[in-house]
Subunit: 205 residues, 2 copies
């Protein structure tokens, strides 16, 4: 008998979230330290936070905007990374990348984490586009998804899968970015990484 494989850590995110970008630089290594893999799962803040919760975008909120920029810069410095794109700039349309991600989660889970990291890197660190077919095609090829038909980018399937992913998040009460789920336990926010790790070490409390 072999030990059962532990469940992956779920990492829910929106590509437009700078907090999720900083989480994306740490979550795979954190999971690996505890023998876990990461299940990357796209959601859309425009649906969860804006429509369902009725809040305004963080960067449109007085006081919170300035603090958030400072907090993100501070955390990026600690990680030795940097934002190539202004954190407070209007977000690029995340739908094409999120749809491609939802398609990969279903059909090419082996490539999903690398694609997620590649989009985050391109958008947040390198200040590149992630909202058009050419940019996404290049990122898909970069992670070994080079089917010339690009099913991740075409037809209704990616959009349907993304809608289902967002619906699942809402159904399970997961609304923010990043949101981590460890063995059924939800943790919201980049600041929860240390508590996530404590949960993995102790098995929970």
């Amino acid at each position: 008998m072999t030990a059962p494989t532990p469940a992956p850590i779920e990492f829910w995110f929106d590509f437009i979230s700078p907090f999720a970008f900083l989480a994306s630089r740490q979550i795979e290594a954190l999971a690996a330290r505890h023998g876990r893999t990461v299940a990357w799962r796209p959601l859309l803040l425009g649906v969860t936070v804006l429509k369902v919760m009725g809040l305004k975008p963080l960067m449109d909120t007085p006081l919170k905007r300035d603090y958030t920029v400072r907090d993100l810069q501070r955390q990026a410095r600690r990680l030795g990374t940097a934002f190539g794109r202004p954190m407070a700039a209007a977000p690029m349309n995340p739908l094409p990348a999120a749809r491609a991600m939802a398609w990969l989660v279903e059909h090419r889970p082996d490539a999903a984490p690398a694609f997620g990291e590649a989009v985050m890197q391109a958008y947040w660190a390198d200040g590149q586009a992630m909202d058009n077919t050419a940019a996404l095609h290049r990122l898909l090829q970069q992670v070994g998804v080079d089917d010339p038909l690009d099913p991740a980018l075409q037809g209704d399937a990616p959009a349907t899968l993304l809608r289902a992913s967002v619906a699942e998040a809402l159904e399970r009460g997961l609304f923010g970015s990043p949101f981590f789920v460890v063995d059924g336990e939800p943790f919201w926010g980049l600041d929860k990484l240390a508590e996530v790790e404590l949960w993995l070490i102790t098995g929970g409390w």
Copy 2:
């Protein structure tokens, strides 16, 4: 020559904040580990978050409410404490206690931390009132402030001092509860305690 005394850690809070309650159980010990004291500073979420930032109360926000209750219970379990008052119940009027706190910060700083802890304990752990003179008088006596005139509870001075405290918070971009300031560096949220400690250990980055 003696080494200069390091600045206290500022701990901004609203008594109605369950996150600030859990912070109040940890911040003095955290500060002491690094040779610091704590400057307790009252603010009012009804002004900062509701009026200035235009957000709705956390417990009135769909999804966030359920997650927050779960998160608070989880953090309380880890600290070995418990909420004697329902976390999601409508908050009691914090003004009398916050005014008394503002008065102590100015006139009896020696007693301010113990009073802050006593109010938090009475309200959140023991499920008692904090919104009337009798309750506050008892808590003041408990921490050694037993002037029968109770200047902390009478006249305009406490209200004026609280208004100034809230104005200072807004002026400095401190809006949430808890908000910590370490040597000029602001950290928002209970989840920042580990980062606050890292900042104290390293001197910042």
